[in-house]
Amino acid sequence: MENTNSNQNLNSFQKQKNKEEMKKQLISFTLMIVLTLIAFAIVAMGAIEKIYVIPLLIVLAVIQVGFQFYYFMHMKDKDHGMPATIIYGGVWAALLTLAGLGVVSWW
């Protein structure tokens, strides 16, 4: 069955809220591009010592992923308590897995 209703019934307050939200998303996107550029630039220029580069890359990645989750995937909005819990739980299991495979494996 076709949806024949129009969006004139969406009140203007709601439309205004959606627009503001979209602006925040655009800012997030720009910041994510900037973070990506910084990460690539650091490696391409090779100016910083390796021991500082690796943690820095990880921090940049985590910040970018934070933007993805909280803004693009709406984790900052209400009713996202359970999703946030499950993702943090997954991150915890992921860190354990990485620690096991990365640290306690050798030849």
Binding site: N3, N5, F29, M73, L95, G100
Partner: protein, 207 residues
């Protein structure tokens, strides 16, 4: 009682994807699935990290990887994430046509990413003899990056199916959750890619 109006109300709610119980369930179900996917990719990343130096005398990451191509791929995928946000914005404004348009652009950007990745793999295989079987590093690289690419392929197929199936149906409370959870999945693929380019390519270049 006639139940037809429940999925096609006169006024679309402000969050159509969560306006039905089915929508709420799909929303949670996909987030739980993403929790599992986090651990799935962590296992692949762990395996890669353990095997990244097992090159068996073959080419290493520092020799092979070209940052330019990877940067373009990243921009394509990140932009496709933004375009899917636009699509959902239009969905919340009950604008079916614009939602379709932005979803289509998302799919095209995804296909662009995939083509570049296929080109990249072909380049490694022909120019360096770096294959899935040539070393443990090769197995780990192609499996990790390949699983991610496989998820992108699945996502694009899902998107095409959604667009075709709903083309004549328009937007209603039955298919709004379907579009929403697709976009969540698509964002997650970008989350994984952020770690892929960081751990595989950038750290691979650093050595």
């Amino acid at each position: 009682m006639n139940h037809d109006h429940t999925l096609n109300p006169e006024t679309m709610p402000q969050e159509p994807e969560k306006a039905t119980l089915e929508g709420k369930n799909k929303f949670l179900g996909l987030w739980f699935f993403l929790g599992g996917e986090t651990v799935l990719f962590a296992s692949l990343f762990g395996t890669f990290v353990a095997l990244r130096n097992s090159t068996a005398g073959g080419p290493t990451s520092q020799e092979m990887f070209g940052l330019g191509l990877v940067f373009i791929m990243t921009v394509l995928l990140l932009t496709s994430s933004l375009t899917s946000v636009y699509a959902i914005y239009h969905m919340k404004n009950n604008n079916f046509k614009l939602m379709q348009l932005w979803l289509g652009i998302t799919g095209l950007l995804g296909l662009g990413f995939l083509s570049l990745e296929i080109y990249e793999f072909a380049h490694y295989i022909t120019d360096y003899g770096f294959t899935f079987r040539s070393s443990a590093f090769g197995s780990a690289f192609y499996t990790l990056v390949g699983f991610h690419g496989g998820h992108v392929i699945f996502g694009v197929s899902w998107l095409i199916t959604l667009l075709i199936r709903n083309a004549k149906r328009g937007l209603n409370l039955y298919n709004a959750p379907k579009f929403y959870i697709f976009s969540l999945y698509w964002h997650f693929i970008d989350v994984v890619w952020v770690f892929v380019f960081t751990v595989v390519y950038l750290m691979g270049k650093v050595g």
